[in-house]
Each structure stands twice: as structure tokens, then as C-alpha cells.
Symmetry: C2
């Protein structure tokens, strides 16, 4: 297998972007990544598109062809493939593109992720998100995405003594990071007390524990490492990739306080890279709810089991801490367009490793981890990036 590098990255503003369509979001992110990479569209061998639910949200399947078309790749008949795994769609697209380049099929791939959630009502977009859970066993029975995560939070609190304050610290920390990220949907700080005092959604989760529904696009350009220097002075290597599945329904699992697929995906990525959790200097974690960030940190081994809450309260996962997590603001504050999220994580880590993250730069960052999952953890994908 060949070494693969990321040579370009681009991301749109995330938010309620009523003047931007899905194709525009894909185009904007793609063009920025292509320009950043210094390649032309003639250099591109394949496009991979992460998107969760354009069929339900904007009545458009076949998004792969749509984005290829609008990024001027139709003339050269560039193969384009859409990957869907609920909120893990972006990370899965990155992994498929990585395998295609590493396997020697192609040299240069663009990975784009995009989602347009706000053209429908809030209840419709919430319903769409719930399609990442098991329709017959969960959604149809009245379980919402928030209520499933609330059960996980309750279990975690019961088993490990995780507190309301710990959950609030996650959201507050990620908003603090987002305040330094002009592309974030909510680029402003919020106090932990504001999180704890926000409206109850599903006990114990409150409004500010939940990631928003967002429009946005993100893209990275992958290149076989032996050609990367043709285009980029600062290629970032993909040194590990791991993916794992779990039961779609939460109730089929042995524990409500865990998401084992995340741990398995991380193990596979670490084994692939020959690294371990203590080597990671900066991480993007899938905090669709505050509890998810805590569980994911524990599954990956960035925190001991049950200790992620205290670690967060202690500031270890904030900028300046031992292992800064979600320096871009996370899903909570950067925003969460599901198809784009996993790719936006890669964009953030590329900026961190290049040393171009501005005010939110983690000093001396060398190894970055991306964790992206779908549903209540039925699909998880982890990547490890390192500066060449």
C-alpha cells in the first residue's frame, strides 16, 4: 500500500445559509480545497462525496454526480461516488478515498462533504437525523435522537458519577474554541451555567448539550505521497484509518454507557499507524451531544473509562490543555451538517498540523486524530494525520 497525503483543504461557513444550495456548498468547499492544493481539475482522478440525507432534505439523490458536475469534473468523466453512514458519512468518504489512493488505483482524489438541512422545518430535519437510528425498533417507537443519547448520558452518570457540570463543561469549552473560528456557526463563548440552565430536551440533555442543524460543506484533496510535493509544500500524511460497526439499535448493546465501535475503529487506526493514544497531540471528536464527546474520549483511550468528565472539568481538553479536543468548535459550536462534519474535522486537523490555525493553534501539534460516528455509534471511523 502506498502512503497518502492531504494536500489541500477547504471549508465553508457553517450555519443557516438560506442563500446557499447544496451544490453551491459543495462547489465552494471543493474549489477552496483544489486551490489550496494548487491542482487543476485535470489532476483529479476521482471524487468522493459524503452526504447523509439529501434525498429527504432537498429531494436529490445522486449527489455524487451533482457535485462532480458543478465542480467541472463531468467533462473528463471523473468517477464520483457518494458514501452515506448517517453523521459518519464524511469520515467514511475520506476512508474510501484513502483506500483508492493507497491501493494504487488513483493518484489524486477530492473528498467533499456537504449537507443542506435548513430548507425544511426543524421538525423535518430532526426527523431526518433520526433516520440514523433504527427506524423500526427506535424511531417508529418514539425514540428521538436526543432521547437515545439521554439514556446514554443517564447510564454514564449512574455508572461513573458523571455530573451535569461535566456535560456543561464540554459545550462551554467547544464554544470557547468556536469563538476563535470565523467559519463556526456559533462563534461565541457560552458559560457552563448557561448550558446547565438551558431548556430541557431529554433529561439530562439540555438544548445547549445538543449540536445544531446546519448547512455547510468541507473538502480535502488526497494525493499519493510520492507525488504530493509536486503540488504542496505542506502535505499532511494519513498514517492510520480504522472503521467499525455496531448494532444499529442502542438496546441491542451490552452497555448503554459505551460506544464500542469507536474504540474498535480507534484501535484499528492506531494499529495501522503503529501509534498509541498518548501520541495524539490534538483531536476532533464527534460531539453531536456533550455525552458523546466524553464517551468517545474514553473509547479511544484519550481518557480512562469514566474519567473524561473530570478531565474536561480540569481543562485538559481545552486549548492550552494536555490534549486539546475540538479546537474548531466541535459539532456543538462549529455546527453539524452531517455529510460535511467528518471532512471538516480533517480540515481543522490539517490546519493545526500545518500551524495555520491562527488564534486556536495548538503549539507543536504533530499527530492529530479524527473521530466521526453515525447514529448512536453504529458506525465509527477514526483517522490519524501527521505532518510529513
Amino acid at each position: 500500500m502506498r502512503e497518502v497525503s492531504i494536500i489541500g483543504a477547504g471549508v465553508t461557513k457553517f450555519g443557516e445559509l438560506w442563500d446557499k444550495s447544496l451544490r453551491e456548498l459543495g462547489l465552494m468547499a471543493g474549489l477552496e480545497a483544489i486551490q489550496d492544493a494548487g491542482i487543476s481539475s485535470n489532476d483529479i482522478d476521482a471524487l468522493y462525496v459524503g452526504n447523509m440525507a439529501a434525498g429527504s432534505l432537498v429531494q436529490q439523490e445522486h449527489v455524487s454526480a451533482l457535485i462532480a458536475d458543478y465542480c467541472a469534473m463531468a467533462g473528463a468523466h471523473v468517477p464520483s461516488t457518494r458514501i452515506e453512514g448517517a453523521s459518519a458519512s464524511g469520515g467514511l468518504a475520506l476512508r474510501q478515498a484513502y483506500m483508492a489512493v493507497a491501493g494504487g488505483f488513483i493518484d489524486v482524489a477530492v473528498v467533499g462533504g456537504a449537507e443542506k438541512m435548513t430548507d425544511v422545518s426543524d421538525s423535518e430535519s430532526a426527523h431526518t437525523l433520526s433516520m440514523g437510528a433504527d427506524e423500526e425498533w427506535e424511531s417508529q417507537q418514539g425514540a428521538t435522537f436526543a432521547s437515545l443519547h439521554a439514556m446514554m448520558a443517564q447510564a454514564h452518570m449512574t455508572e461513573f458519577g458523571t455530573t451535569r457540570e461535566m456535560l456543561s463543561a464540554v459545550a462551554s469549552k467547544n464554544h470557547g474554541h468556536a469563538a476563535l473560528n470565523p467559519q463556526a456557526q456559533f462563534p461565541f463563548p457560552i458559560k457552563p451555567e448557561a448550558v446547565s440552565g438551558s431548556g430541557l430536551v431529554s433529561d439530562p440533555l439540555r438544548m445547549l448539550d445538543c449540536a445544531p442543524q446546519s448547512d455547510g460543506g468541507a473538502a480535502v484533496v488526497l494525493c499519493a505521497s510520492d507525488r504530493a510535493k509536486e503540488f504542496s509544500k505542506k502535505p499532511v500524511s494519513i498514517i492510520g484509518s480504522g472503521q467499525a460497526s455496531d448494532t444499529l439499535s442502542l438496546h441491542h448493546r451490552a452497555s448503554l454507557s459505551r460506544m464500542p465501535a469507536i474504540g474498535v475503529a480507534a484501535e484499528r487506526a492506531f494499529a495501522h499507524a503503529g501509534r498509541k493514544a498518548t501520541d495524539v497531540s490534538v483531536a476532533e471528536i464527534h460531539d453531536n451531544f456533550t455525552i458523546s464527546e466524553l464517551i468517545a474520549l474514553e473509547e479511544i483511550g484519550l481518557a480512562e473509562r469514566g474519567a473524561a468528565g473530570q478531565l474536561t472539568l480540569d481543562g485538559a481538553t481545552a486549548l492550552g490543555g494536555a490534549i486539546p479536543v475540538n479546537t474548531g468548535g466541535g459539532l456543538k459550536a462549529r455546527g453539524h451538517p452531517p455529510g460535511a462534519t467528518g471532512v471538516a474535522q480533517a480540515v481543522e486537523i490539517v490546519q493545526q498540523l500545518r500551524g495555520t490555525a491562527g488564534e486556536r493553534q495548538v503549539k507543536g501539534a504533530t499527530l492529530g486524530l479524527l473521530e466521526n460516528h453515525g447514529g448512536t455509534g453504529a458506525t465509527a471511523v477514526v483517522h490519524l494525520l501527521e505532518m510529513n
Copy 2:
């Protein structure tokens, strides 16, 4: 890159299967393929799922995890990835799995395709199919999937003198094949006159020019060829794989009578395999409308430009002819569950190459071609299979 073989194949009955859910269709096809391969679920390294529109049709995204779960792969956290490219979803899933095995990432992959179309009204499922076209430029303007193909048919008739009788010969031939396939949705012959006399849908296309809306599942098991003999006495090699894109909208193309992405995908597959069109002994072609089969035959080079209609009238593409096409009945008569179609094509060719196709066996078949496309040809994927 390593050689890859298909070592197992399974397909459900296609049709209006009101007593079968999406997960059951995936499970039934997957189990049959696994049993046919002689592997156990412990041998499976990854699952790839082709599905077009479960979000719109059965309110379920994240189908990858659903199928992995119900095929008992969640316990081992087997990675599962859904691929979508409208009606090309199945063929694209086959290609991604092929690349993962050929690239050396995994040894054994299951490729499953499934779609459940008949839980919604006919108008809703027709609307869902139209999501494979361009929503803003086509569907929203009133263009239906049938009307877009009708324009292609009109152009082909005008440019090449293709006739009503030639279109009818395609449907009649595929029904004749389906009559020999017990898994087909419409396993009975129809006369060309019945096609010509069926109700007008969009001039010149009539009801019997159009593939039906179907439920169904199909699966194949891929294995690195150096391990294939561990499991199977009759592995079939994947010797070529090609994919190409085109503009999503029909009106953005230079010609209405062509689908160039099919030709490019075929060229790429032939180049990969080191073979040419005249080497093909049996082909599965994506006949979502009768006109599509004619255009695809010409793009691939199985017929001269403009000559596919006469070739069909002459019987060359029927069983017993020079190049039998759609021996399983094609989309027209076997049925067309979009996610399953591309995989069902592989199942048919595997049976032909193994010599187990029963009454519809093509004698001496050695090289099979699968052509699967999405929308009006904005995504095309072609594979070449050969008996080891």
C-alpha cells in the same frame, strides 16, 4: 494490486414483496451468498451496501449498519459502508469492495444491494426515482424520469432511424429471458405487439418500455483470488472495473442520443482487463427503459453507433444469438430495485460463467460484462467477469 474473485452469489425474488422489509431482503440475499461461498460470518472483513433511497422510501438512512447488524456482523464490528449513485448504487458498491480487496486492505468482502420501493404509493416511488435526475434543473421543472428518457429515444429515432418495433423487441426479448428465471418479477413472455400497444407514458415510450418499481436484494462475496480456492471450487475473477461521470442534467450534454459516461466506463474496464468488446460472451445491460439498452450497447461497442436496434430485431442479443444480453430478464422483467440491480447483474453473470444458469444458460460463456448506470447516465460503472 491483487486479483479478486467472486466466490458466492445470492438473490431474492424481485417483485412487490409486501411481506418483506428492507432488512429482510438484505439478510436473505446476504445469507444465500455467504452460504454459496462456504464462508462463515467470521471470515468477513467488510460489508458494502448498495442502496438508492431508503431514507425517502422507508425512513431509514444508515442502511450499512442496519444490514451489518441483521447479518450478524455487529458483534465483530465488521466495517460496513453504504454507497449511493441512484440506480448505479449496486455496481458502485461492487467497485468499492473490489478496490478494498484488490488494494490489500481486506481479503473477504460481502457486497449487498437492496431496495424496498413498494411501501409507498406509486407516485411517491416514481418521485423517488426522479431524485436520480437533477432536482433543480429537471425534476422541479416537471421533467419525469420517463420524459427524460423519451427525449433520448426521440433523438435516437431521429438520428439513426430507430423504430418503435426495435424498442418493443428489447422488452419482448428481456421478458422471454425472464420467463426462464424464477426469481424474476415478471417471469412470462410478452409479444412485441403488446409492448407497442401498451399505454403511452411519454412519447415514444410506452408502459412496457419502462422497468417496474420493485423490492429485492442481491449479494455477492468477494475474495482475494489467492485465498478463493480455500472456499470455492468455482471462483469467478473480476478482471476489469471502470467508472465514469457525466453532467447530471441531460440538457447539459452535447447529444441527447448518447450516454458517453457508459462508453468511458466500459473503455476503462476493457483497458483494465486488457480485453475488448468482441471478447464479451454475455452481458447484463441497464435497461431501465428500452432505449437505454440500445444506447448502452452502442456506447460499450457491442453494437455500431445507431445499429443496436437492428441487432436486437435480428435476435443477436437474445439467448442463442451472438451476444446474449440480459439473460436474467433485465431491469424490465427481472425487476428493478435500484440498490440491488447492479449486484443482481453480477449474480446473473456469475451463474452464467459457472454454467449454472439452467434453461437460460449461454453455452460456452467465458467473459461477462455488467453495465449499471444512474440517472440519465450521469454515473456509469462497468465490470468484466471471467471464469478462473
